[in-house]
């Protein structure tokens, strides 16, 4: 019996291997750095392993836990503020025959359309004048403008996926508009809204430029700490911080994948 080997598997295996290296190579490097006590050129692997830097990061004098707390607080406030705007906006955009509906949706993209740096420098200057610079509300406001595009687009899609008949059915048997929204529309749109909340949360957790201009040095988020450590040549601290940032991102991405149904995704931007 002849075993036929599909020669196409050779390039495929090569490409897959390359892809795995591109994705997991830096991650492995990062993980190695978190446990390296001593590592310098030209050595392929660390010379000494240990967790002394972990102790430093998590020691009461280390800023990591405090920054993590600040980051999570800012992210949570950003989610609350974004959803408070995105739920009514998304509902209106999905239900009402608003003129220029596409244009309104596009308008939320504007903060993304301009280069971040000049925008944030101007915001920082303005916030400085009104005393918002270096405060948590200031950073939250910057993060909200950034996160709102995800929040509104996904919320609009989530509400569009709830058929209007379902709402009308509640109205017809005695539910007022708010009751129908609370009992029918909101629970059915909840998975999509949850997904948008997670996106906004992760965006806020990751955000650097705005936090740097508006928050530093009074408000230190995890990315700012990472930047300071990295710029100071302390790769161990930077790697441990990066790993801390990675955990909620990966965890939430797995949740989002379960929450975002195809029928919601297909309505994004419509």
């Amino acid at each position: 019996m002849m075993v036929r080997i599909d020669l196409w598997w050779l390039p495929r295996a090569f490409v897959l291997g390359l892809l795995a290296f591109v994705i997991f190579g830096p991650l492995t490097n990062l993980v190695l750095w978190t446990v390296a006590e001593k590592w310098y050129f030209p050595h392929m692997l660390p010379l000494e392993y240990g967790v002394s830097f972990w102790q430093r990061v998590f020691s009461p004098r280390g800023n990591a836990m405090e920054s993590l707390g600040t980051s999570v607080l800012i992210a949570t406030l950003t989610v609350i503020a974004s959803l408070a705007l995105a739920i009514p906006a998304g509902y209106a955009l999905s239900r009402l025959k608003l003129p220029f509906r596409g244009l309104i949706l596009l308008a939320f993209l504007i903060p993304q359309a301009f280069p971040n740096l000049p925008v944030y420098v101007n915001i920082a200057r303005f916030f400085y004048q009104i005393g918002l610079n270096g405060t948590i509300p200031g950073v939250v406001m910057v993060h909200v403008t950034h996160g709102l595009v995800f929040a509104v687009w996904i919320a609009t899609a989530a509400f569009s996926a709830v058929e209007i008949d379902l709402e009308d059915a509640a109205r017809s048997i005695g539910a007022g508009p708010i009751q129908a929204f609370r009992d029918v529309t909101l629970p059915l749109a909840a998975p999509g809204l949850m997904a948008s909340a997670i996106f906004v949360f992760l965006e806020s957790l990751d955000e650097f430029t705005g936090s740097y201009f508006v928050g530093a040095p009074d408000v230190t988020t995890l990315p700012l700490l990472l930047y300071t450590a990295g710029a100071g040549g302390n790769y161990q601290i930077a790697s441990i911080t990066a790993l801390l940032l990675l955990v909620p991102s990966i965890g939430f991405m797995l949740v989002v994948e379960r929450f975002l149904r195809a029928d919601v995704l297909s309505k994004v931007g419509h």
């Binding site: 009308d168 109205r171 017809s172 005695g174 539910a175 009992d183």
Partner: protein, 369 residues
């Protein structure tokens, strides 16, 4: 209308933006009456139902229920319940929660709600399904949950928007009778939108036939079937065979002038509003009788006789259907036994089966050819 109307729709015009769907429409419905709004798609029947339910607002006119004006009221204050074509069951609630939602809104005690939900489930043959989600039910079961949800709140008026059109043909036939007997038993006032003539005939006390945003005719199923008031109603009620002829009115007789395929025929006017001139004659395939060309039987008084050739024969079940050629167009005629293809036959249409209308000059001119 002699019956004092429980639901009164007066002079309403409804539309979306610049388009008017319903134009100055009046309708009265008695308490406990089952009315079918019948028409083809786009005739405005669903818009009329949604306007009555409160989901569309009329430009002008008023809607009254038992003497109180509900025109400006939101849907939830009207004491009606609408059953949707799509059923619109809430997928995140169980069957029991769907049926009980309206009662929960009325802040009834939990025990009352449970008792009523159980009663509804038993009434509709849904016992034991209370904890299922709508996604786990068959089409017929979903339809009954939608009905139960609407009936649970004891609405003054039950509105049905093509509730049977998503069901299998066989289930549909039984559900028709179920809904009708339920409505009779509960004595509820119901308005049923449908495009299915037979469904309307079987279920309704009164049929309202709509066309292009107007009411063409309303009456009992028997009236609209046997005395169509317009060519549209005649065609919609199955009189698809169309002949163009000339008529002369003499006292209370109508003379259909001799033509290429027919001898002159005189038939009683029997209350038809006609003027002499071009007429459209309509009749049903099953109302006409076929006879061989040599048949010497005397023609019934007032009947119309046509001569033609059998172009094709088919058997749709119960009778034979013949396409009979008259010059360049064909008519359909049923018979109990088949005639041969190509055979010359006589088509005899009794006086009471002839629907005669003046040809509308305007519509004739509007024809593209």
């Amino acid at each position: 209308m002699a019956l004092s109307a429980f639901l009164k729709v007066e002079n309403i015009s409804v539309g979306y933006g610049a388009t008017t769907v319903l134009d100055k429409l009046d309708l009265g419905i008695g308490k406990g009456e089952f009315v079918a709004l019948l028409g083809s798609s786009g005739c405005g029947k669903t818009t009329l139902l949604r306007t009555i339910a409160g989901f569309a607002k009329p430009f002008v006119g008023s809607i009254q229920v038992a003497g109180r004006d509900v025109t400006q009221m939101p849907p939830d204050k009207r004491g009606m319940a609408l059953v949707f074509q799509s059923y619109a069951l809430w997928p995140h609630m169980t069957v029991a929660q769907n049926i009980g939602y309206g009662l929960k809104l009325q802040k009834r005690p939990r025990g009352d709600i449970e008792a009523r939900v159980t009663e509804m489930q038993n009434l509709l043959g849904l016992s034991g399904l209370g904890n299922r989600k709508p996604g786990q039910l068959s089409g017929g079961q979903r339809q009954r949950v939608a009905l139960g949800r609407a009936l649970a709140i004891d609405p003054e008026i039950l509105l049905l928007d093509e509730p049977l059109s998503n069901l299998d043909a066989r289930i549909r036939l039984t559900v028709r009778h179920e809904i009708r007997s339920l409505q009779k038993r509960l004595g509820i006032t119901a308005i049923h939108v449908t495009h299915d003539r037979e469904e309307a005939m079987v279920m309704a006390d009164r049929i309202v036939i709509m066309n292009a945003g107007r009411i063409e005719q309303q009456g009992t199923p028997e009236e609209v079937y046997n005395k169509p008031a317009s060519p549209f109603v005649a065609a919609f009620m199955g009189a698809e065979n169309l002949l163009s002829m000339r008529a002369k009115l003499q006292s209370d007789q109508i003379e259909l002038v001799e033509g290429e395929f027919n001898a002159a025929a005189v038939t009683p006017q029997s209350g038809r509003a006609l003027t002499s001139g071009a007429v459209d004659v309509r009749f049903r395939a099953e109302a006409a009788r076929l006879a061989r060309s040599g048949d010497r039987t005397v023609l019934d008084p007032g009947a119309l006789e046509l001569r033609g050739q059998v172009a094709s024969v088919s058997y749709p079940g119960g009778h034979w259907r013949h396409a009979v050629r008259l010059g360049d167009h064909e008519i359909l005629v049923d018979a109990n036994s088949p005639f041969d293809q190509g055979e010359t036959v006589k088509v005899r249409i009794p006086a009471e089966a002839l629907f005669i209308f003046n040809t509308a000059a305007a519509t004739a001119d509007a024809q593209p050819h």
